[in-house]
C-alpha cells in the first residue's frame, strides 16, 4: 500500500482480504479467457485456483467476524496490483497447466513476502502476529502449489508454436 502502514489488526486484515478478493476475481477472469479459447484444461485449473483463494477470502472474513465487506476503496498497492494477482500479460492461449501453476507459485511467493514484510516491520505486536500467521499460511500455499506442480513436467520448447497461426504470410 502506498504511504500507509496498518496500525490495527482490523486494518491489516482488510488488506489481506482485499488481496484475496482481487486474486479470486482475476483467476475467474483467466478461467473465462481460457474457456473462450478452448483451453479447457487450463480453464479448469484457474477456476480451481479461484475457488481455493475464495475459501481463503471467506476464512479471513469469518475469522474477523465481519458481517459486511470491509471498506477497501482507498487502498493502493505499492506494486501495480495486489501481490497475489496474476498479470493479464502473462497469459498465452496455448499455455499448459504447468505454466498456470508457475504463475500461481509466483503469486503465493509474493503474498508470503508481502506478509513477512509486515511481520518484521515496526508495528504493534498484534499486527505483526497477524502478519506472521498470514505469512505462514501463504508459505504453506507455496509448498502445496509446488507439490501440485510436480505432477506436470515442464513443457518442451516450442509448446507455444501454433500449426495454424493467426498471422498471415501471403
Amino acid at each position: 500500500m502506498k504511504g500507509k502502514v496498518p496500525r490495527t489488526v482490523d486494518e491489516f486484515m482488510a488488506w489481506a482480504w482485499a488481496m484475496e478478493v482481487e486474486a479470486v476475481e482475476r483467476y475467474e477472469e483467466l478461467a473465462e479467457q481460457m474457456l473462450t479459447h478452448h483451453n479447457a484444461e487450463v480453464a479448469t485449473l484457474f477456476a480451481r485456483l479461484a475457488r481455493i483463494e475464495g475459501k481463503h477470502r471467506d476464512q479471513i472474513a469469518q475469522q474477523m467476524g465481519w458481517t459486511r465487506p470491509p471498506d477497501t476503496g482507498s487502498f493502493h498497492w505499492r506494486t501495480p496490483e495486489g501481490p497475489e494477482t496474476t498479470d493479464y500479460g502473462d497469459l498465452h492461449y496455448l499455455m499448459q497447466p504447468y505454466h498456470a501453476l508457475k504463475l500461481a507459485e509466483h503469486n503465493e511467493e509474493r503474498a508470503a513476502q508481502f506478509f513477512e514484510h509486515f511481520a518484521a516491520a515496526k508495528l504493534p505486536a498484534d499486527v505483526r502476529a497477524a502478519a506472521a500467521a498470514m505469512a505462514a499460511e501463504e508459505r504453506e500455499h507455496v509448498r502445496l502449489i509446488r507439490e501440485w506442480l510436480a505432477k506436470y513436467p515442464e513443457p518442451e520448447p516450442g509448446w507455444d508454436e501454433d500449426p495454424d497461426p493467426p498471422a498471415v504470410a501471403d
Binding site: E25, G73, P80, Y88, G89, V168
Partner: protein, 273 residues
Amino acid sequence: MTGMLTHADFKSDIKPVWCPGCGDFGVVNALTKALAKMELRPENVAVVSGIGCSSRIPAYTSCYGFHGVHGRALAAGTGLKVARPDLTVIVTGGDGDGYSIGGNHFLHACRRNVDLTYIVMDNRVYGMTKGQPSPTTEPDWDSKLSPEGTGLREFHPMMMALTAGANFIARAFTGDPNGLADVIVQAVRHPGFSFVEVLSPCVTFRPEQRDWKKLVKHDALKPATDIARAARRMLRDTGFDLGVLYAGDRRPYEPRGRREQRAVAALEARFTP
C-alpha cells in the same frame, strides 16, 4: 440498480474474445473500476467506439454503448455529448482506428474541446486485420506484412493532442490497471477533451511487447498547466513515461442552450405523443 455500485456492476455478461495476454483486458478492468470510484451509474454513461480489437469494449460494459464506424468514434461521441451533455461520454479505440482513418477527427476533437474522454489502446499494430503496421508502428518493425519495416516516422499522439488543443493529456499502461483507473478518473473529471494514451500490448502480433512492463516508468510525467513546458517535456519522452502530461484550463465547448440542443429538443418533440 440501486445503492453503491462496484466495478463488477459495470461489466456486462458478454465475455471478451481478445487473445489471452492482451492488454485490453486491463482497460476493461480499469474503466469499470474508475466508473465505480466516481459513483456513476451505467445508465448515465455512454461508451462509444470505432472498429478494431479494442473497439469491442462497449459490449463488455453495462453502460450505454455504440460500436460505430471505423475511425468515426470521436465524431459519434462528440455528437452524443453535444446532444446529451448530462451523459458521461467515454470514447474508446485503438491506434489504427484513432490515428489513421480517424486521425482528422482526433485533431478536431482536441480543437473543439467537448467535455468527453478519449481512451486509445495503443499496441502499434492493426491486430484485428492480422498485423499490419499502424501510424504508431516503429519504422524498422520487420514483419511478414512489412518486410524490413515501413521506414515511416511514427505518429506522436500526445504531441499532436497537445498542439491541437486537448485539455488533459496522459499516458498509462494496461499492466497497471489500478493506476490506469486513477488516470481515467482524473481524465473524466477534468473539463473539456481528455486524451488518455494507453500502452496496451498485442501479444499475438507484437509478442516483444510483453517486455513493456520492464520499460514503463511510473509517475515519470508530472502534470503541467503550461503548454510550452509540456511540449518541452515531450521532447525528452521515451514513449514509456507514464503519468499526466498536461492539465489545461481551456474552457470546454458548452452546448447547453445552443442551436444543436434546440434541434434535438425539436426532434424529440416530434416523437412525443
